[in-house]
């Protein structure tokens, strides 16, 4: 770090340390009704920017001293007079809608950053602008080539945290709309700063600068529920130089605000973002961030034989925080690169890198347009886990097919049984049997699992990952639930009984007919003997009707059609 320690320390001491000392007591401080410094509603743009007064009072009551570096492209045909009028109208709107929290000044002298494009600005270049202000807005008004209107683009540089915000842009169709567009643009550009004053119930407590200054309208509030902050660790290096470190893959999302204290949830990709075991003195601060218009450029790499190998061909998905549905962004290219365009990330999103469409290799939050720079993310590839998951998926497909075919055959068996088509039932049972029993997929699953466990121990690489284990469990449940052979066995039993019943019925029929014949013979003989004819023997029913109730033994005895043991209601198909 080559930044003069004196400069940084001054900044930190003057702004952050008082805030850190402030504690939560500041949250309940009484409101101040007036702005600490009255603003001129109409400042002539040609007039020199007023030198800001040093901040006074507690930070939550201090306004943000903002210097605007406005540049207007000559192609816009906005002359000096019109520009002055534009600035005046813009300031009027700021005063009307934002009010005390912002203390906006316009730089009248040419900006040293005038020759640079918005995208190519760096924090180092912005440091040259000095520390007289809290924030510097570099804004350009140019022509929007597609619509012929105006395009406002700009970035915010936060002097204290030395962070350059994302590129923001806004379109304005006509000249008359420009002041209003500039106001909207300013609101998108502005990012508040805060001190992380503690944690409570898994939430971070932030004391936001200027939060106690009453805004002129609700849209002028420095922070509101939903505002996102980036946590920063403020510490020193080994040689005592101050360091401001961004805590990676962590964001704080405001849930509620009480006074100047914002209660934020952690949106994080690491386990303990506010790690307390830091070897040197430290404190935490935060700076707000709003989604930018530039794509998030990522490059996923992995290490293989001490070489950096791009993680090519992996699927990247995004999901809006907190509960958005995942969307496929695309596949990393041969260099492991992918750009997440604004349509896939309009705010804070969870970015996930998936292998084989299921195994997450990376899962962390990111803010759209946070930086124009490419971010290199090392990941650990899990080829063996993916292989296992592929095999599980293939096995699952087989099981699903088997379940579907079984369901069809079971329906057919039921029809055969109802129609007492024993031969048809036997054929269908044979077909069913040809599909294979549940032991086959169950055995394969078991073998896959055991092999993976063994390999995992031997190679000491994760194979049965959380995803893979979940898949194993899911497949096991699928097999257990849908591939039981009880129904099949019941039909086999029913077939045996049915066949036996048919034989019994035939025997009974034969017996009955024999009896009838005998009775006839006797009657004829009696008739011949001129004796009164005897009553005919009561014939047995040819086929005993199925009893609606009674024990299984009774049904068996009567030759009633047996029912499968287990005809419980199942869901039709495991999709």
């Amino acid at each position: 770090m080559t930044i003069p320690l004196r400069t940084l320390c001054l900044g930190l001491i003057s702004v952050l340390l008082p805030m850190l000392q402030l504690g939560t007591a500041a949250a309940v401080a009484p409101e101040v009704s007036a702005s600490p410094r009255p603003k001129a509603t109409a400042i002539a743009p040609a007039a020199p920017a007023s030198t800001p007064q040093p901040p006074a009072g507690p930070p939550e009551r201090q306004p943000y001293r903002i210097e605007v570096h406005l540049a207007v492209d000559p192609e816009t045909r906005l002359d000096t007079l019109r520009q002055a009028e534009l600035v005046r109208e813009w300031r009027t709107l700021i005063t009307r809608f934002v009010g005390p929290p912002w203390d906006v000044s316009f730089r009248t002298t040419p900006s040293p950053l005038a020759g640079l494009s918005i995208e190519s600005l760096t924090a180092e270049r912005c440091e040259e602008l000095g520390k007289a202000f809290d924030k510097v807005w570099i804004i350009r008004i140019g022509l929007e080539p597609s619509s012929g209107g105006f395009l406002i683009a700009g970035r915010e540089y936060d002097v204290v945290t030395r962070r350059l915000g994302p590129v923001q842009s806004k379109r304005s169709v006509v000249d008359a709309e420009l002041p209003r567009s500039l106001l909207g643009f300013s609101l998108e550009l502005f990012n508040p700063v805060a001190v992380i004053s503690g944690e409570e119930g898994g939430k971070a407590l932030l004391t936001v600068r200027g939060a106690m200054l009453p805004p002129a309208s609700p849209i002028g509030a420095v922070s509101a529920p939903g505002t996102v902050f980036i946590p920063l660790r403020i510490t020193t290096s080994r040689d005592g130089k101050p360091l401001i470190l961004r805590i990676p893959f962590t964001y704080l999302r405001v849930e509620s605000i009480t006074g100047a204290v914002a209660r934020c949830e952690f949106v994080k990709g690491i386990s303990d973002p506010l790690y307390k075991g830091w070897p040197r003195p430290f404190s935490f601060a935060a700076i707000g961030i709003k989604p930018g218009d530039t794509p998030v450029k990522l490059r996923f790499v992995t290490r293989k034989e001490k070489m950096e190998v791009p993680a090519a061909g992996y699927l990247v998905t995004t999901r809006d925080v907190p509960d958005g549905a995942p969307r496929d962004v695309g596949v990393t290219d041969r260099a492991g690169r992918i750009a997440i365009r604004p349509q896939f990330a309009r705010g804070l999103v969870m970015v996930r890198l998936l292998a084989g469409s299921v195994e997450p290799l990376f899962d962390a939050p990111m803010m759209a347009g946070e930086s124009t720079d490419e971010r290199v993310i090392p990941v650990q590839l899990l080829p063996r886990a993916v292989t296992l998951e592929t095999q599980l998926q293939a096995l699952r497909d087989e099981v699903v097919d088997m379940v579907a075919i079984r369901a069809r055959l079971e329906a057919r068996m039921k029809a055969r049984l109802d129609g007492e088509d024993w031969e048809g039932l036997a054929e269908t049972l044979k077909e069913f049997q040809a599909l294979g029993s549940r032991e086959v997929p169950a055995g394969r699953l078991k073998s896959l699992k055991e092999q993976a466990q063994k390999e995992q121990v031997e190679t000491k690489t994760p194979i049965l990952t959380r995803t893979a284990s979940a898949k194993v469990d899911e497949l096991q449940a699928l097999i257990d639930r849908y591939l039981d052979d009880d129904e099949y066995n019941a039909y086999v039993e029913a077939l045996a009984q049915g066949k036996q019943g048919a034989v019994d019925q035939a025997k009974v029929k034969e017996k009955v007919s024999r009896k009838n014949n005998m009775a006839k013979k006797v009657a004829e003989e009696a008739k011949a003997a001129a004796t009164p004819p005897p009553l005919p023997a009561t014939p047995l029913p040819a086929a005993a009707p199925a009893q609606p109730s009674g024990s299984a033994e009774e049904k068996e005895a009567t030759g009633a059609k047996p029912k499968p043991k287990d005809q419980r209601k199942k869901s039709t198909f495991p999709f």
Binding site: G313, Y314, V331, T332, R334, D397, A404, F575
Partner: protein
């Protein structure tokens, strides 16, 4: 006049009664006759009105056959068809009943009632007495009497058999005549089909009936004339020719035929359909060889041919041959043109090739089958093949003299042969051309871009004109396979063309042929001069004997085969399997086989989220009856070892073909269920996909059936498929370029699994990253394996990965494999030197020879 055969029985006692009784009877009969006349007529009318389908109804075809008899008193009676038909002529002289000397009764001549058994009539009282049982010979003479049976209206049971005296019959109108008259009427009303039915009915009833032949002639003439007027030449001429065969001298027939034929022939001449025109003229010649119109039309043809012949005489080289062929195409029997053609063909032997598609656009790249076919004719590769001889620089047609790898395969040194010139003769082929080609392959904006090459290439240098050094990021496997493609000229643009002073941009090539013209349907290649094609001293090959190759696009398989049989083309690139047996039996044609089978598949675009859905892909796979389609639509015979259903992306017999892969099943029921599941998984919205297929014969036959199968299984799920036919070259080059699609029917070779598996499974694998080529793989797992395969540095590892890909493709379904089919080419026997089995069509094309031949009309060829 009419005797009722049954009435006489009842009346006999009266008749044989007293004279009063007899008088009373006569008076009754007379009264009856007075009343009868109008009654008869009225009865007939009543029949007509009351009984549809009986005589008198308007539709004779439906009516019960009847005859219409007009009596002398103009009474008309309808009877059942009388017999004999027609009646013999009536001779009054033989009718003794007319003898004035003959005694007659008071009622005689009006009506005669006889018994059913022919007993004596009751009313004929004037006749002299005869002995009992003696029959009156006059009564039973067929010359004198006619027995009729009146048409009985339905429901009536009264017997109405009568005998009518011939002298009382004024006329008899037979049913057949009525039919013929009706046919004539219908003919006049242009209802030819109905008229023909009537005549057909006559023919069925009485084959020899007089007048039906004439009526048919009239019908044929009228119908034929009408057809000609309506522009239906074929039908009109057929009818008139039929008439011509029936009656040559039919008035106006010859003139009509001559007019029709000549008009047709002259129209064909205008349209350039000369064989058809000559055929028409030939047909006319048979009919009217001396007809003036025929002679005039024939002269027109000969004049046209002669005109072209004159142009041919004035031309030189290729133009001379083409115009001579033009002249012969108009009139093949022009002797002078024949001799001129012979000499011109000897100067420029020309081979016409029928191809499925020509390369569009043509350039130094390999994107389609057409590019691969033509490339070697135009451009010399660095290496002839990925084999040991090529690496040692032995094959004559390659650029590399020496090919060395160092640094464990990461560095490559190519030493080039010297002496070869580019076709524009501007400079020799040198290292800078190779460097430009290799670097162009790494430029995403170049049409020659190949992402896999860009991924491995680190640096290319040309230390001198004959040496190229290539440095790789990692040692590539099958390194030689990257150098078998064409090398374009460094001084030309990316498409290998340069601007000339003319309006066209010329192709600059260094192969045995150069491109003289490329259109959407035709590609013309001319043999290069020896200095260019065999520029390298090591080459002993002479300039190609066939001086010109013309590729003609005929995408329809049947038409292509017809063109080969007719002789319009002498070589056919692709013979549809279903036509193979027919061609093999033709003695003028020989059939060759490509060494490697072609794999048919349906590619998925993974950039469409629906097509990454596993259930959907599995449903589509289950919906295809692969074996049925292959046998029923493509082979039209049972499958065999060379033509069989695929079980994966690799052909059977490939070194990486996984042996234990289950074949794909056909289960429409399961497909239906999976499709329903897919819809559910994709959010419940109906799935709609576009299915693009090339215009090759096989794809045309199969793709609509596959789409229909998809529709059937997806009917309940709202699954929709839109079929789109595309030109093969366009479709394949667009897919290779990374264009988005849904489903695409592809035909690919997978000769070498390590090299070809990637593009076979993921069509846009080599496309620039802006097209998201890796995203086009519908299976992330297979994509990972493909990338792993690319990075493999040892062959056993690569082979293992390729086998794994083949195995896992069964369940991952990155594509839908369909079948592998052996492909054939065919040529006419006048083409010599072509190999019966080859890996590419134009192998050794420089040594081929072709005999002159032009298509003659079959009727002019004398059969041995």
């Amino acid at each position: 006049m009419i005797d009722h055969p049954l009435d006489n029985q009842a009346r006999r006692p009266t008749a044989t009664g007293s004279g009063w009784g007899r008088l009373a009877c006569a008076a009754t009969v007379a009264l009856a006759m007075v009343v009868a006349s109008p009654i008869w007529t009225g009865t007939i009318r009543g029949q007509e009105e009351a009984a549809p389908g009986v005589p008198g109804a308007t539709d004779l075809l439906r009516a019960t056959p009847f005859d219409r008899i007009t009596l002398t008193d103009n009474a008309v009676i309808l009877t059942e068809p009388i017999s004999p038909r027609p009646l013999p002529p009536y001779d009054p002289k033989k009718d003794r009943s007319q003898d004035p000397r003959r005694p007659r009764g008071t009622t005689e001549g009006l009506i005669k009632i006889v018994g059913g058994d022919g007993s004596e009539p009751a009313a004929d009282m004037a006749r002299p007495k005869r002995t009992k049982g003696e029959a009156d010979p006059i009564q039973f003479d067929s010359n004198n009497y006619l027995t009729v049976h009146l048409i009985q209206p339905p429901g009536e049971t009264e017997v109405r058999d009568f005998k009518v005296r011939r002298f009382s019959v004024k006329s008899v109108e037979y049913f057949e005549d009525m039919l013929i008259a009706e046919a004539d009427r219908l003919t006049r009303e242009h209802q030819f089909a109905r008229a023909f039915e009537h005549l057909l009915f006559v023919k069925a009833r009485a084959p020899e009936w007089a007048g039906q032949g004439d009526a048919l002639n009239r019908l044929l003439f009228a119908e034929g004339s009408e057809a000609l007027l309506n522009g239906d030449f074929e039908r009109g001429v057929r009818l008139l020719r039929e008439l011509f065969e029936r009656k040559k001298d039919y008035p106006g027939l010859e003139d009509k035929l001559a007019t029709a034929y000549t008009q047709r022939a002259l129209r064909a001449l205008q349209l350039g359909l000369y064989p058809r025109g000559r055929e028409v003229l030939h047909q006319l010649e048979v009919v009217a060889p001396t007809n003036v119109k025929y002679l005039a039309a024939r002269s027109r043809y000969i004049d046209e041919a002669t005109k072209r012949l004159e142009v041919a005489k004035a031309s030189t080289g290729v133009a001379r041959l083409d115009t001579a062929i033009d002249a012969l195409r108009v009139w093949p029997e022009l002797k002078e043109a024949q001799s001129l053609f012979g000499s011109a063909f000897a100067e420029t032997p020309t081979l016409d090739v029928g191809v499925v598609d020509v390369p569009i656009p043509l350039g130094p790249w390999l994107r389609t089958h057409a590019d691969a076919r033509v490339s070697r004719l135009l451009y010399r590769p660095i290496l002839n093949a990925d084999d040991g001889d090529s690496l040692l620089g032995k094959p004559p047609g390659q650029l590399a003299e020496k090919f060395e790898t160092t640094e464990v395969g990461r560095r490559l040194v190519i030493r080039l042969r010297s002496g070869g010139l580019w076709s524009d003769a501007s400079r020799p082929v040198s290292s800078i051309d190779v460097v430009r080609t290799l670097i162009d392959r790494t430029d995403p904006n170049s049409p020659r871009y190949r992402a896999r090459w860009a991924d491995i290439l680190e640096r290319v240098e040309a230390p001198d004109e004959s040496r190229v050094e290539v440095q790789f990021n990692r040692p590539p496997l099958r390194i030689a396979s990257w150098f078998v493609g064409p090398v374009g000229p460094a001084h030309a643009s990316e498409d290998g063309r340069i601007a000339t002073t003319g309006s066209e941009r010329a192709w600059v090539t260094d192969g045995p042929y150069l491109c003289s013209g490329s259109t959407a349907d035709r590609l013309t290649l001319l043999a290069a001069e020896k200095s260019q094609s065999s520029g390298d001293p090591s080459s002993n090959t002479a300039s190609p004997r066939i001086r010109r190759i013309r590729e003609i696009r005929i995408s329809d398989g049947a038409k292509a085969v017809s063109a080969l049989i007719r002789g319009d083309v002498s070589l056919l690139e692709n013979v549809p399997p279903s036509q193979l047996a027919g061609l093999k039996s033709n003695e003028d044609v020989q059939v060759g086989t490509y060494e490697k089978p072609f794999l048919h598949q349906i590619a998925f675009d993974g950039r469409n989220p629906a097509l990454r859905n596993r259930s959907l892909k599995r449903a589509l796979s289950y919906a295809i009856d692969r074996k049925g389609l292959l046998e029923g639509l493509i082979l039209k015979q049972p499958t065999n070892d060379a033509n069989l259903v695929s079980d994966g992306p690799l052909p059977r017999g490939s070194y990486a073909d996984a042996p234990d892969v289950r074949p794909f099943e056909y289960n429409p029921m399961l497909a239906q269920m999976l499709l329903a599941a897919a819809r559910k998984e994709l959010g419940g919205l109906p799935i709609s996909l576009k299915f693009e297929y090339p215009d090759t014969p096989e794809a045309r036959a199969v793709a609509p059936v596959i789409a229909e199968a998809f529709r059937v299984v997806g009917e309940k799920s709202g699954f929709k498929v839109e079929l789109i036919e595309r030109r093969e070259s366009e479709l394949e080059s667009e897919l290779r370029g990374g264009r988005r699609f849904d489903l695409a029917y592809r035909v690919v070779n997978c000769d070498d699994a390590v090299v070809d598996l990637g593009p076979a499974l993921c069509p846009g694998l080599d496309a620039p990253s802006t097209m998201d080529p890796l995203g086009s793989s519908s299976s992330p797992r297979i994509l990972q394996l493909l990338l792993e395969l690319e990075r493999a540095s040892e062959f056993p590892t690569a082979k293992g990965i390729a086998t794994q890909i083949d195995r896992e493709s069964r369940t991952e379904l990155p594509i839908l494999p369909l079948w592998q089919v052996e492909r054939h080419y065919a040529w006419r026997t006048r083409l010599k030197g072509i190999l019966p089995s080859s890996d590419r069509l134009y192998k050794n094309a420089e040594t081929w020879e072709i005999a002159p031949w032009f298509a003659r009309d079959p009727w002019t060829v004398k059969k041995p």
